[in-house]
C-alpha cells in the first residue's frame, strides 16, 4: 500500500463515530418523517413506495409502471365484431369474439369513453373525454376519418332514427351537443342536469334519454335529486326533465324494446345520516330506476340483498327480447341478472304512496334478481351479441373482455386485450380503489364517492366528530400530492393517514388495508389528474372578462378606494400555483354544528366541476360564496363588488387549473 497515506487509528475512530452518529441521526430523522407523514408507527423506512412508485411519468417511470388499455364501454357491430373503448389506452379496440383476438387498435387519443355504431355497422362514433371531441371511424377501413369538437368531457351518445344527428352528453359542461353529421359540426347545445353521462334513443320514437350522473343543486342538507333529461330528436328540444329523488351516480341506461321503460342504474346514498354503521344499506344502497317513458313515473328498486351490497352498478343491457337485463357492479365484481317482466310487474303494482318504502326494501331483489354472475375485477361496460347468446363484460382493471353464456350464465372465457400481465404498483392501487371488497358487506368502494377520483358532489356526516355535527363536503382526490394537509380540518398530514387506520375504523368498518395495499392505494390516488379544464385558456392571455376577474382577485382596494387589508385579499390565502396557502383559516363560514371554525384553505384549481362549495357544501355556486355566505367580508372583502364584477371574478376562478393538450 505504498503511496496511500495511512490513516491514524484516532482519525479512523473519529470518522467511525461521526459516521455512526450521522447514520443514527439520519435514521432518526427519516423515522420521524415517515411517522409524521404516514400517521402510523411504521416499522421500517422505505422511501420507494411514497417517492418513487407513485410517479407515472418521467424517463424512469416505465421501469415500474406499465400502460394498460382499461376497457370501459362496448358496442357490437352487426358483423359480430366487438368494439371496445380503451379508456387509458387512447384507442378503440376491434375484437373478434370468435377468435378471441384483437383485430385492430384505432388510435382516437385522449380518454375514450363510449362507442356506438350506425345500424349497418359502417361507422362508429367514439367520445374522447380528454379531448372534448367525437372521433368518426370508418369500420371498413378501420380508420378515423374525422373528429368533431363537442362540449367538455363527452360521454354517452345516441343517433336519431335518421342517423343524421348525434346527441352527445357532455359531463364537463352539463349539456348535450347536437351534432349534425352531414356537416360534421355540433350545431346546438341543450342544457342537461348535472354531469350528463349516458344516452340512449328510444327504439320506437324520437325520444333521446340522457342520464345525468350527479345530483342537481339542492338545498343544503337535502337529499340528492338527479335528473333524467328527455330530448325530442326531431325538434332537438328538451321535452321533459324527470327527477330521480334520493338517487345519484346514475350511470347505466337501457330502454326496453317496446320503448315503454327506461332502466337506469342508481345509487341511493345515505349522506344525510351519521355514518355510524354501514351494514344493511346505512351508507349506500344500489339499484335500478324504472322510468315510464309515457307518464314519467319513476319506480326505484334495489339490487342489493339484505346483508350484501352490490356496489357501483355501472352499465345495464337487455337481451334482444327484453326479458332479461344485465347490470354490471363495478365494485362487486358481479353481474346481476334481472327478470324484466317480474321487475316491471312489481313496479306497476306499487302504489305511489309506497314508492319511498319500496325504494329502501333490501328484500325486494329476491323477486326479480334471478342470478349473480361472478366476473373478474371491475366489470363496467356491457354488450349482448347480436344473436343474444353472449354477454360481453369489460373487466376494466383486468384488461380483458369476459364472455358469458346468456342462457346458462356460464363463463365462456375471456379475451385479453394485450396489456402487460404484470400488475404495477399504481395499477394495484387502482384495483383496490375500484373494489368494494374492503368494506363491510361490500357497501362501497372508493369510487362510489369519488368517481374517477373526483367527487360525488355530496356532503357527509361522519361519526367520530359527532352525530349531526361537522358536516363535510366531499372533495376531489385529483392532484392531491402537494396539497397536504388533508380533511377540511387539516388533521391529516398525509394520504397514508387519511386512508389508513381511522378510515377503516370509521368508514369501511373492517380491517384496515395492509401496509402494501395502503401504499399502492395512495400511489394510485397521487397519480390522479384533473381532466383538462374546459374554461382555461391554453398558454394564451386570459379572456377579457377573466382578466378583469384576475384583477379583482388580486386587488388591494375596494371600488371606493379603501385599502383592503392584506389578510382580506383573495390572493393572500389563495396564492398561485394551487391557489392555497396550505394554512387554516376562519372565514366566518363555521356553522353552529361545527366544532371548529378554522378550515384548511382549499385549492382553487378546476373549480367548475367540484361544487358544491365551502367546507360543508352549503354553497351551490361560486356566486353564493359572496352573495349568501360572506355577509361580513370575512371571506375576503367582496361586498362592494357589482354583479358584473362578481361575474368576472367567477369567470376568472373557473379558468384556474390550466388547460392540457
Amino acid at each position: 500500500m505504498r503511496g496511500v497515506p495511512r490513516m491514524s487509528g484516532r482519525a479512523m475512530s473519529v470518522m467511525a463515530l461521526v459516521g455512526i452518529v450521522g447514520v443514527a441521526a439520519g435514521h432518526r430523522g427519516l423515522s420521524h418523517h415517515a411517522r409524521k407523514m404516514s400517521g402510523t408507527e411504521v416499522a421500517s423506512i422505505n422511501c420507494i413506495p411514497c417517492h418513487v412508485l407513485p410517479r407515472v411519468s418521467g424517463p424512469l417511470a416505465s421501469l415500474w409502471n406499465a400502460e394498460y388499455a382499461s376497457p370501459l364501454r362496448l358496442a357490437v357491430v352487426p358483423d359480430g365484431t366487438l368494439l371496445v373503448t380503451a379508456e387509458e389506452g387512447g384507442a378503440l379496440f376491434v375484437v373478434d369474439p370468435e377468435r378471441r383476438a384483437v383485430l385492430d387498435q384505432i388510435a382516437v387519443g385522449g380518454q375514450p369513453h363510449s362507442v356506438i355504431t350506425d345500424a349497418r355497422g359502417r361507422t362508429a362514433y367514439v367520445t374522447d373525454r380528454w379531448g372534448n371531441r367525437v372521433s368518426v371511424i370508418d369500420l371498413a377501413t378501420r380508420t378515423r376519418v374525422s373528429t368533431i369538437p363537442v362540449g367538455a368531457q363527452p360521454g354517452g351518445m345516441s343517433l336519431d332514427a335518421s342517423e343524421r344527428t348525434l346527441f352527445v352528453a357532455n359531463s364537463g359542461t352539463n349539456d348535450i351537443s347536437v351534432v349534425d353529421l352531414p356537416s360534421g359540426r355540433a350545431v346546438q347545445r341543450l342544457p342537461a342536469g348535472s354531469h350528463p353521462y349516458s344516452v340512449r334513443g328510444s327504439p320506437i320514437d324520437e325520444t333521446i334519454v340522457v342520464l345525468n350522473r350527479l345530483t342537481s343543486p339542492v338545498e343544503h342538507r337535502a337529499p340528492p335529486v338527479t335528473e333524467v333529461t328527455l330530448v325530442d330528436a326531431a325538434t332537438r328540444r328538451v321535452v321533459r326533465r324527470v327527477r330521480l329523488d334520493a338517487a345519484h351516480m346514475a350511470e347505466g341506461l337501457a330502454v326496453t324494446p317496446d320503448g315503454a321503460t327506461a332502466l337506469l342504474t342508481i345509487a341511493r346514498p345515505k349522506n344525510l345520516l351519521p355514518a355510524t354503521q354501514i351494514a344493511r344499506g346505512w351508507m349506500i344502497t344500489y339499484g335500478v330506476a324504472l322510468l315510464d317513458m309515457t307518464s314519467g313515473r319513476v319506480v326505484q328498486l334495489l339490487l342489493d340483498d339484505v346483508n350484501q351490497s352490490y356496489a357501483d352498478p355501472y352499465d345495464v343491457v337487455l337481451s334482444p327480447d327484453g326479458r332479461r337485463a344485465f347490470v354490471s357492479h363495478a365494485g362487486a365484481d358481479v353481474v346481476s341478472v334481472i327478470d324484466v317482466p317480474a321487475l316491471r310487474a312489481l313496479a306497476a303494482a306499487i302504489p305511489d304512496d309506497s314508492l319511498a318504502r319500496y325504494a329502501n326494501d333490501l328484500s325486494a331483489s329476491r323477486q326479480y334478481v334471478v342470478a349473480r354472475i361472478p366476473t373478474g375485477p371491475n366489470p363496467m361496460g356491457l354488450a349482448v351479441s347480436a344473436d343474444g347468446g353472449t354477454l360481453y363484460v369489460a373487466e376494466r382493471v383486468a384488461d380483458q373482455i369476459r364472455m358469458i353464456d346468456v342462457a346458462t350464465g356460464r363463463d365462456r372465457g375471456v379475451i385479453p386485450l394485450g396489456s402487460p400481465q404484470r400488475e404495477s404498483f399504481v395499477r394495484r392501487g387502482e384495483r383496490l380503489f375500484n373494489s368494494a371488497g374492503h368494506t363491510a358487506q361490500g357497501q362501497f368502494s372508493c369510487r362510489s364517492c369519488h368517481p374517477e377520483g373526483h367527487t360525488d358532489a355530496l356532503n357527509y356526516d361522519l361519526e367520530p366528530d359527532g352525530l349531526g355535527r361537522n358536516i363535510v363536503n366531499n372533495i376531489s382526490l385529483r392532484e392531491l400530492s402537494t396539497t397536504a394537509p388533508y380533511k377540511w380540518t387539516g388533521k391529516n398530514v398525509s394520504l397514508y393517514r387519511q386512508c389508513g387506520f381511522r378510515f377503516a375504523k370509521w368508514l369501511t368498518r373492517t380491517a384496515p388495508y395492509s401496509q402494501r395495499d395502503l401504499q399502492a392505494l395512495v400511489a394510485y390516488i397521487m397519480s390522479l389528474e384533473h381532466m383538462p379544464n374546459p374554461y382555461a385558456t391554453a398558454d394564451g392571455p386570459l379572456a377579457v372578462a377573466a382578466e378583469r376577474g384576475r384583477t379583482i382577485f388580486e386587488r388591494a382596494a375596494t371600488n371606493d378606494g379603501r385599502t383592503i387589508d392584506e389578510r382580506d385579499r383573495c390572493v393572500t390565502c389563495h396564492p398561485p400555483p394551487l391557489f392555497t396557502d396550505g394554512r387554516m383559516a376562519d372565514v366566518g363560514t363555521g356553522a353552529d354544528t361545527d366544532t371548529q371554525h378554522e378550515f384548511d384553505t382549499p385549492v382553487l384549481t378546476n373549480l367548475a366541476g367540484s361544487g358544491p362549495y365551502l367546507h360543508d357544501g352549503r354553497a351551490n355556486s361560486l356566486e353564493e360564496l359572496w352573495t349568501r355566505f360572506n355577509p361580513d367580508d370575512r371571506h375576503g372583502v367582496a361586498n362592494d363588488l357589482t354583479k358584473a364584477q362578481l361575474n368576472d371574478l367567477v369567470v376568472y376562478l373557473m379558468t384556474l387549473g390550466g388547460a392540457r393538450d
Partner: protein
C-alpha cells in the same frame, strides 16, 4: 328435565356432526375433531379426540381431563380449543392443544366457560356463566371482555369468515324461543339474524358451510330434527334438508360413539374491524330515524307517540320527547340491557317494550324505526333530533 336437556344436546351435537361431516366439501382437510361419548361411564362423559383419516389411530386431545367437548379449530388448522374440566368438582374452562395432541394447556377464565371458537388473531370467544344465565366473552392478549348484555342465555358463538359472530340467544322466560343473533367481534351492532321457522325450535350452533351461508338444526314439535340452510345475504327462509347419517369413524371402543365432528382445515383469519369501543367511556348513544315506523300494532287505546322511554332491568332510566319527525337521540349507559317503548301524551305505552338491546362504551347505534322490518334500509334524511344533541337520561349513569 335434565334428561330432556341432555337428549336435546345430544340431538344437537349429532346434528352438528352430520352437518359438518366428512362429505362437507372439505376434502382437503387433514384432521377431524371428534367429541366422543364414553359409553362405559356413568354418568356419561365426553372426550375430545382427533383423527387424520378414517381408520387412523385416534389422538387424545383431552388427556387428563375428566370431561371435554366442543372442539373448535383455529384458522391455522393446527390449534384446537375446547371446553373441559379436570375433575368433577371443577367448573368447565377452556383448553387449547395442538391437533397432534401436544401442548395441552388451560386458557384461564374467571368463570365457567363453554363453547369456545377462535376469533381474530388468536382471540377466543366463548359462553360464560353469569348471574342470570349465560353471556358471551372474548379472551385475548389484553384480557377478557364481556360482549353481550341481554337477560337470558347467549350461547354457541360461531365466527363467520366475515368476522361477525353468530350466536344463539334465548330470553329468561321459560317459553322464550331461541334465535340467532349476530354482532361484531367487539359486541357492537348486535341484532337479530334468524328467528327460526314457525313451529320449530333452534337447536345448537350455526355452522358456516359456504360464504354467507349457514346451516343449523330445527326441532319440530313432534321431535323430528332437520337441518336448514340459509343464505344470510338474502336472509330468506332457506332450505330444509334431511340430516344424513352420522359420520363413520371406526376404532371406537364398543359403547363409545361420536356426538360431534368438526373438520380441521386452514382458513383465512377472520377480519376484525377496528373496534370503536372505548373502555374508558361509560356511555354510548342511540338514535332513531322514526320511532313510529314499526311492524308492531300500536296500543289501540293510546294516542300518537310523543315520547320514548328507556328501561333497563332495574327500572326506568328516563323519558325523552320525540322530535317532530319521530326521531330521537339519546345517551345511554353502556353494557347494560335496555328496552325502549314509545309513549303518548298521557304516558300510555303506544308500542313496546322493544326487544332487549345494549350499546358498548362509545358505540353509536342507529335504528330505522322501532321494531321495523329488518329488510328496510334507512331513508336518507336528517333526523331532527340530531340537531339538538343527545338527551341525557336522569337514570342514565351507572
Amino acid at each position: 328435565m335434565t334428561r330432556l336437556l341432555a337428549s336435546l344436546l345430544l340431538v344437537a351435537a349429532v346434528g352438528a356432526a352430520v352437518i359438518v361431516g366428512r362429505g362437507d366439501s372439505e376434502a382437503q382437510a387433514e384432521w377431524v375433531l371428534l367429541t366422543v361419548e364414553r359409553g362405559a361411564t356413568s354418568p356419561v362423559r365426553t372426550r375430545v379426540v382427533a383423527q387424520s383419516a378414517v381408520g387412523e389411530p385416534l389422538v387424545e386431545l383431552s388427556e387428563g381431563l375428566v370431561e371435554a367437548r366442543g372442539p373448535s379449530p383455529a384458522p391455522d388448522g393446527r390449534r384446537v380449543v375446547f371446553a373441559g374440566r379436570q375433575a368433577d368438582e371443577d367448573p368447565w374452562s377452556l383448553w387449547e392443544v395442538d391437533v397432534t395432541g401436544d401442548g395441552l394447556h388451560e386458557i384461564a377464565t374467571d368463570r365457567e366457560a363453554r363453547e369456545p371458537a377462535y376469533a381474530d388473531h388468536g382471540r377466543v370467544v366463548y359462553s360464560g356463566r353469569v348471574d342470570d344465565g349465560w353471556a358471551l366473552f372474548v379472551r385475548g392478549p389484553s384480557g377478557t371482555d364481556r360482549l353481550t348484555y341481554r337477560p337470558g342465555d347467549q350461547r354457541w358463538p360461531a365466527v363467520l369468515a366475515t368476522g361477525r359472530i353468530v350466536f344463539a340467544d334465548r330470553g329468561p322466560e321459560d317459553d322464550a324461543p331461541r334465535r340467532y343473533l349476530w354482532m361484531q367481534q367487539d359486541g357492537t351492532g348486535a341484532e337479530l339474524l334468524i328467528a327460526g321457522t314457525p313451529g320449530t325450535h333452534l337447536v345448537g350452533p350455526v355452522r358456516e358451510v359456504a360464504p354467507n351461508t349457514v346451516r343449523f338444526l330445527e326441532r319440530a314439535e313432534d321431535g323430528t330434527v332437520a337441518a336448514r340452510v340459509v343464505d344470510i345475504a338474502r336472509l330468506d327462509a332457506g332450505q330444509r334438508m334431511e340430516p344424513p347419517a352420522a359420520p363413520q369413524v371406526g376404532l371406537l371402543a364398543g359403547a363409545d360413539r361420536v356426538v360431534d365432528a368438526v373438520t380441521v382445515s386452514a382458513r383465512p383469519v377472520p377480519p376484525a374491524p377496528i373496534s370503536v369501543v372505548d373502555p374508558a367511556k361509560a356511555k354510548g348513544v342511540l338514535f332513531g330515524i322514526d320511532a313510529g315506523l314499526s311492524d308492531r300494532t300500536p296500543n289501540p287505546s293510546a294516542g300518537p307517540a310523543v315520547a320514548l322511554r328507556v328501561v333497563s332491568t332495574d327500572g326506568q332510566l328516563g323519558t325523552l320527547p320525540l322530535a317532530a319527525d319521530g326521531s330521537y337521540f339519546v345517551e345511554v349507559p353502556a353494557d347494560r340491557p335496555l328496552r325502549l317503548e314509545t309513549l303518548d301524551a298521557s304516558g300510555q305505552i303506544v308500542r313496546g317494550p322493544s326487544d332487549w338491546l345494549w350499546v358498548r362504551p362509545n358505540e353509536s347505534r342507529g335504528c330505522v324505526g322501532c321494531h321495523e322490518p329488518r329488510t328496510l334500509a334507512p331513508p336518507n334524511r336528517v333526523p331532527l333530533a340530531l340537531e339538538e344533541g343527545p338527551v341525557q337520561l336522569p337514570g342514565g349513569s351507572r
